[in-house]
């Protein structure tokens, strides 16, 4: 693992009218690092990801990917520079088969014969081979998550963003996912947003906690888990919801 940064944001701000969803975020990630991003509902995690991938143009601040200033770039240009994202609500080609979905991703990086092979390999790896001919729109949520993951990994991006990948998964699917994330992190930098603490414990080392759009804490997972203030922002949120 080198010490060079694959991703840095400086004073990143994203506002929607009066709401500041991302608030002055200075974030950096090393090449090949696995980072978990935690935070209560509405903390701005997904919005942060959307800024990184050009789905939203930040209100101010800069985003650098391997030294290139990608602030305000088009999504496809950012992606082609080496970012892959599994979105919180899976974005898939619903009307076509699992295989066709994954092949379309593999085809970005590979010539025709290789793309077929790569797609089959990714289906195997993500445990969806038996669903190859099924229409993606008809799958269960956990299966859809795995298909989207296969699509992201098929492009072998050096930076992988995973937004709540474990949601809707069965125990087995979760185990497979944890292994996959750890394996991916051996060759790429990965940021994982997740609410499932058991899952987080299995994969996390260094953790960033978001609250109200800003970075609240950055520390090793053990430290975060025993941090009173962190527990409170989570509990506070739950109290809000209960009220």
């Amino acid at each position: 693992m080198s010490d060079a940064h694959i991703l840095t944001t400086e004073k990143l701000v994203m506002q929607f009218g009066g709401v500041t969803a991302v608030d002055n975020v200075d974030f950096s990630l090393k090449e090949g690092e696995l980072r978990c991003l935690l935070g209560p509902n509405g903390a701005g995690k997904s919005t942060f990801f959307k800024c990184l991938t050009g789905q939203l143009t930040p209100t101010s601040g800069t985003i650098k990917l391997r030294g290139a200033d990608i602030t305000g770039w088009n999504t496809h240009d950012i992606v082609n520079l080496g970012v892959g994202i599994k979105t919180q609500v899976p974005n898939l080609f619903n009307g076509i088969s699992v295989y066709e979905n994954i092949r379309m991703a593999a085809r970005r990086k590979h010539l025709k014969p290789m793309a077929k092979e790569k797609a089959e390999q990714m289906m195997e790896k993500c445990g969806v081979s038996h669903l190859a001919r099924r229409e993606v729109g008809l799958l269960a949520h956990g299966q859809r998550q795995l298909v989207e993951l296969a699509m992201v990994l098929a492009e072998e991006p050096p930076l992988v963003l995973l937004d709540e990948p474990a949601a809707g998964m069965t125990g087995d699917e979760r185990d497979r996912l944890a292994d996959l994330v750890l394996e991916t992190a051996r060759s790429a930098a990965v940021i994982v947003v997740e609410h499932d603490m058991a899952f987080i414990r299995r994969i996390a080392k260094f953790v960033t906690v978001f609250n109200r759009g800003a970075i609240f804490r950055e520390a090793m997972i053990d430290e975060i888990l025993s941090d009173r203030a962190v527990q409170e922002i989570y509990l506070g949120k739950q109290a809000d919801v209960a009220a």
């Binding site: 991938t53 789905q55 088009n74 999504t75 496809h76 992606v79 082609n80 892959g84 994202i85 979105t87 974005n91 898939l92 080609f93 619903n94 009307g95 076509i96 295989y99 066709e100 092949r103 379309m104 991703a105 085809r107 970005r108 025709k112 077929k116 190859a132 001919r133 699509m151 492009e155």
Partner: protein, 348 residues
């Protein structure tokens, strides 16, 4: 695992029917019928232009007539000036395609939403219609061709054999040439749809966000799709112009745009054969109704259309397909059941 074109039965059936009609038609039909069916062929090409961009690119255009008219006028002006029809015919594809690319660039790179896209295409058609209507005076001419405003352009040359300006096609030959064009357009579109480009188009139709998150440039893709559709619509305009030897601003009318929408919707969005079927059926119907003079033609057609949309919301072809599949399964079940009962009785 991939469904290739070569293995698609529907494709071969369509090709077979097309070739059979093309070669056998002129032997069995009289002049009047040939003329009538030629009209269906031209309008089928026109319908395919929208069937492609809407069904396989997710672009809903309310202004397909803009390109139809542009192609028709391009052909008329060019053929009157040049004195032969091959180059003008090529231009009737190229010019509308180029215009479509330019308009598409403005719309897709400007990130117009679907609703605005519909409005823009409609307004562009209206502008053409207005403009061309105001060209009645003799000062509005391009070379030897007077645009003629609302009077239209008469005496447009009949299609000639490429390279021989004096060898005009007779109605049967024109029918065959047009059938040939329809088959080629159908074939090319099927090939495009089956290609990687076509698969990505379907991906964009299904989920634009995912397509761009995979790194595909949606805007560029859509501009190309739109330009191809515009070129085909323009070519069908040229076919219309040479078939009638006359063209007037109605080529640019809202009615012409609406017809394309109706055919594609009635035939089934996401199919190519469906809209062709709809052209034949609905044009034939309106012809029959027109000769009966009982009720207003448009009234009855409108009623039929509403019925179609309500009863077969997915369109003619997909519904027929579904029906065929059901019957097939029912037949299989019956056969299985009778086989089973025979077995049961023989066991006793």
């Amino acid at each position: 695992m991939e469904k290739t074109l070569a293995k698609d039965i529907g494709f071969w059936v369509m090709l077979g029917i097309g070739l059979a009609v093309m070669f056998i038609g002129p032997m069995v039909w009289g002049l009047f019928e040939i003329m009538q069916i030629t009209q269906y062929v031209v309008l089928s090409v026109y319908a395919l232009s929208l069937a492609y961009i809407w069904g396989f690119g997710g672009i809903l255009s309310f202004g397909q007539a803009a390109f139809f008219g542009l192609g028709a006028y391009t052909f008329a002006v060019a053929s009157i000036n040049i004195g032969e029809t091959t180059v003008p015919f090529a231009l009737s594809f190229l010019l509308p395609a180029a215009f479509g690319a330019a308009l598409g660039y403005f719309m897709f790179y400007g990130r117009l939403s679907d609703v605005y896209l519909g409005v823009v295409t409609m307004v562009v058609t209206l502008i053409f219609w207005k403009l061309i209507n105001h060209t009645a005076g003799p000062e509005y001419s391009i070379g030897a061709a007077r645009l003629g405003g609302f009077n239209g352009i008469p005496s447009i040359p009949i299609l000639n054999v490429p390279g021989d300006a004096k060898a005009w096609l007779d109605p049967a030959q024109m029918f065959q040439a047009f059938m040939g064009i329809l088959i080629i357009v159908y074939l090319c579109l099927r090939l495009i749809i089956a290609s990687d480009f076509g698969r990505v188009s379907v991906g964009i139709r299904e989920n634009e966000t995912r397509a761009s998150l995979l790194g595909y440039d949606i805007r560029r893709h859509k501009v190309i799709i739109f330009a191809i559709g515009s070129g085909i619509a323009g070519m069908s305009g040229a076919m219309w112009a040479t078939y009638q030897t006359f063209i007037d601003p109605n080529a640019f009318s809202m009615e012409m745009s609406a017809k394309a929408l109706v055919w594609v919707m009635a035939g089934g969005v996401g199919t190519l054969a469906g809209p062709i079927l709809a052209v034949i059926l609905l044009q034939w119907l309106s012809l029959k109704l027109g000769t009966m003079h009982i009720l207003n033609n448009y009234f009855i057609l409108g009623a039929i259309l509403m019925g179609l949309v309500l009863l077969l919301p997915r369109g003619l072809l997909p519904s027929l397909r579904l029906l065929a599949e059901r019957l097939w399964h029912l037949g299989r079940q019956k056969m299985d059941a009778s086989a089973a009962s025979r077995k049961a009785t023989s066991d006793v």
